[in-house]
Subunit: 504 residues, 2 copies
């Protein structure tokens, strides 16, 4: 018994060391993106590379292999406490992911994706898919090769999905997207044809950066982001990064010509951030101190960004503050008009600029293409044509050129496949969780009207956040909502909200 | 030959890895002191400890020992290029310093100094030297024991001096402080008795933090601190930290009731910072990318803080800017009066609050006591009495209590002995370097008046900064000034300046 305890302690210490390296790397990265002086960036990248290489070496070392081998022996494993069991499980998953690929093949992959990212950038600039095509073909082929090493699941694409959303399958996603397509596409088309386009001109006046920053701080504080355990800074692209639950950093970018960008992106990132701040502090320093999956993480950011901060009751509370902060810009603008402008639906070519309703359709296009590439029913050469056809069908838009179409995202060039669906899963989970939350907080809308966000936070901490990685997405969904993933809550929410807004 | 080159390359790579860890640790430390949210500090300290322990392990590892053994073999060493030779030399020095002490004794020392720091804090609060005394006795005894391990030089205290100011000896310091005592003490006494105390009331009006920050940025930019390779932030205690020459971070603290604190501390730290920014970029990533000694580093901060930024020509240039930035505070205040207020001499009990002239006398008190402790001619129990006697003799002040006397500095409790003299050496070197600079830039005062600081920076880079640790302090002094350390330049400078200011 004593030796098993000792083994568990040694392993935890070893794991904490790796985590400390990753933690340090994250601080260096945050600093690079928010504070580092211009000329210091190159040297910084080298240091980040040294540290992350070291962490990678440790997490795939002979020492790690030995620990995992001994700790996963049935008899030993059964005697471990739940936290150590989970730590072993997650470490083993990471180890297998990295070690099953022969080193030379992995190095080849790193090389190709590096080249591909550069080529993709050039291709997008020149609006020339042919430039990028051979690299994307190589990447797809390597993904297929790697899937064989990792072990193909029922669907080959499931192997990739599992890396970002553990347990997620094509079977489930097909159901989800079928429902989304059946219910959302007609809604989008109806909105396209409606003449209820809201006035958004007051959102596009001049909003001084400092005033926006102050208003964002006010909102984030009030909804429950803890500034004693976090910060809000600026960077080119908004992100959330954390170094344990007591140090969570958000960034945003202020567009002085548009009130909407910084505010909703800050709230989005704060949703990620509050998840991290609420993870049980007992997991600090362990890789369990982290949201359980990309999809569940995204559900928390989308909950705050959309279900809360794009709702009418939320603005019943905050609109007076907004009017006080920006008296000229919002003078004479009725709450109802502000609310409608905040929920403009406008099919566009670009995913990152799209609204709550059309967003999932952008993801669906990518999902269907990725699934086809990995199951070899679609060839890379056909992509521009397929992309544009699907965009027309789902969003009703004619993509004018590949740089605004199939070349718009960096993801594929850096080898990210199976990642896009987690964005939509975030929305699906968010609606499903919100449904459960409202059952226990039937006065949800009144709380928003009163600016009393503590019960929402308390509920999220208790049912979702505190567990960190201790519960899988499936366990979490089952425990919180009593069922597995179910897109009907999202569809109901979207239909109700947008039919009402556009009087359909 | 090939194998020696390979060995040198491998060693450099190994050394760079250690340096990367220390670099990362420095970023984490900077973040902790300037940006980290309150509740994130504990977890951060653990990560810093993990990384610095790892760096320490590497720099004292068997692998390091093997490298050093092979590279210091006469035949091999001679074939190395100058940079690698220096790298070997510095690494060997660090290795010996850390490895000659038996591990248990070093751990005991860490334990005792940790306890001593806490006890010192309590003793200072309670104004009770007896509380601290047994710990200081233990520390002195351990220093004596360690000196035996390291190897006693001509004077035992030389061994300690060498760790902060390589090559410095009691023999040299005795000469320096004798001259300082003979020439400065009578000057201080004369000023104490003069009735020319300048008016400083306008320095103690209200200066808004943001206005001070803007003015400091303006001054720092103009004197040549490169904000593309650096930053200025706020922290409780001002410091300068760097992660290579292209990322140098300064901090200051704004006292809204005193114009002087933030400005001159910013300029002081910028002096350190410009030294680091000017080190040859070829040494980036190596431990040679660093000022050569504490004393030479301090000479650069003191040069800018005192020789430049407390001079009349400097304020002939900047006073109009200051008046524009703070029109109410400086209304009707003549340049001459501002200059006199900036150079107030006022003997005080506290070193950190002391002026340019009396500062060295505070250091002299500490030097004489440390030397006595290490040579066992002074006992710890006698310290309060000896301290107060020396303060009376040199500065003419009656120390009212030990918390304002012998208990004021943290240094001894954390085992720093041999460090204090480098502060005065900084002033000595600064005057000596300035003398040499003025020979080559005879229009020095005109340059200040014109706000043209580039020639000063250029000279400093060419003669001092660029070499980093490649030249020892002795080599540097000899090459730049044609002689070894000589305090008469400082004494001449102080006598001329303060006799003039106080009309003596």
């Amino acid at each position: 018994m004593g030796t098993i305890n000792q083994l568990a302690t040694d392993f935890t210490t070893f794991s904490k060391k790796i985590h400390a390296y990753n933690n340090a790397t994250a601080v260096l990265y945050w600093d690079l993106r928010t504070k580092a002086p211009k000329k210091g960036m190159d040297a910084r990248s080298e240091v980040i590379s040294t540290l992350s290489t070291e962490a990678f070496k440790l997490s795939t070392s002979k020492q790690m292999e030995d620990y995992l081998q001994r700790l996963t022996e049935e008899q030993t494993y059964q005697q471990l406490d739940a936290v150590t069991q989970k730590l072993v499980e997650e470490s083993k998953k990471e180890f297998d992911l990295n070690k099953k690929i022969p080193t030379e093949r992995y190095q080849e992959y790193v090389l190709i994706t590096n080249q591909a990212e550069n080529l993709w950038e050039e291709a997008r600039e020149k609006n020339d898919f042919a430039l990028f095509r051979p690299y994307l073909e190589k990447i797809v082929n390597m993904k297929l090769e790697f899937i064989d090493y990792w072990g193909a699941k029922e669907d080959k694409y499931d192997t990739l999905l599992d890396q970002y959303e553990p347990g997620m399958t094509v079977k489930q996603l097909d159901q989800i997207f079928t429902l989304l397509r059946d219910k959302t596409v007609p809604l989008v088309h109806a909105i396209n044809e409606s003449n209820r386009r809201p006035n958004i001109s007051f959102m596009e006046k001049h909003f001084a950066k400092a005033d926006q920053a102050a208003f964002n701080q006010l909102v984030l504080k009030k909804i429950g982001f803890d500034f004693q355990s976090g910060r809000l800074d600026t960077s080119t692209h908004p992100f959330c990064i954390h170094f344990g639950s007591s140090d969570v950093r958000l960034t945003t970018r202020y567009d002085e010509q548009d009130f909407r960008y910084a505010l909703w992106s800050s709230i989005h990132e704060a949703g990620h951030g509050m998840y991290e701040q609420n993870v049980n502090a007992a997991y600090n320093g362990l890789l369990l101190s982290n949201g359980t999956s990309m999809g569940v993480h995204e559900s928390q950011s989308r909950f705050w960004e959309n279900m809360v901060a794009r709702s009418l009751p939320f603005w019943e509370h905050f609109y007076p503050d907004a009017q006080q902060a920006f008296p000229e810009q919002f003078a004479g603008v009725a709450l109802e008009d502000f609310y409608r402008a905040a929920n403009l639906v406008e099919p566009s070519f670009i995913r990152t600029e799209s609204d709550e309703l059309t967003y999932n359709l952008h993801i669906m296009v990518r999902y269907e293409i990725e699934k086809g590439l990995i199951n070899q029913t679609i060839e890379v050469g056909e992509l521009p044509q397929i992309w544009n056809k699907k965009m027309k069908e789902y969003l009703g838009v004619d993509v004018p050129s590949d740089d605004l179409g199939v070349l718009q995202d960096v993801h594929w060039s850096s080898g990210l496949m199976g990642y896009f669906p987690t964005y939509s899963l975030g929305n699906v989970y968010a609606a499903q969780f919100t449904h459960a939350m409202k059952k226990q907080l039937p006065n949800f809308d009144d709380l928003l009207r009163a600016g009393d966000f503590a019960p929402l936070n308390q509920w999220s901490r208790e049912h979702i956040h505190q567990f960190g990685k201790m519960k899988s997405p499936q366990e979490l969904l089952q425990d919180v909502t009593g069922e597995q993933v179910n897109a009907s809550y999202l569809v109901d929410y979207l239909e109700k909200k947008y039919k009402d807004l556009y009087q359909l």
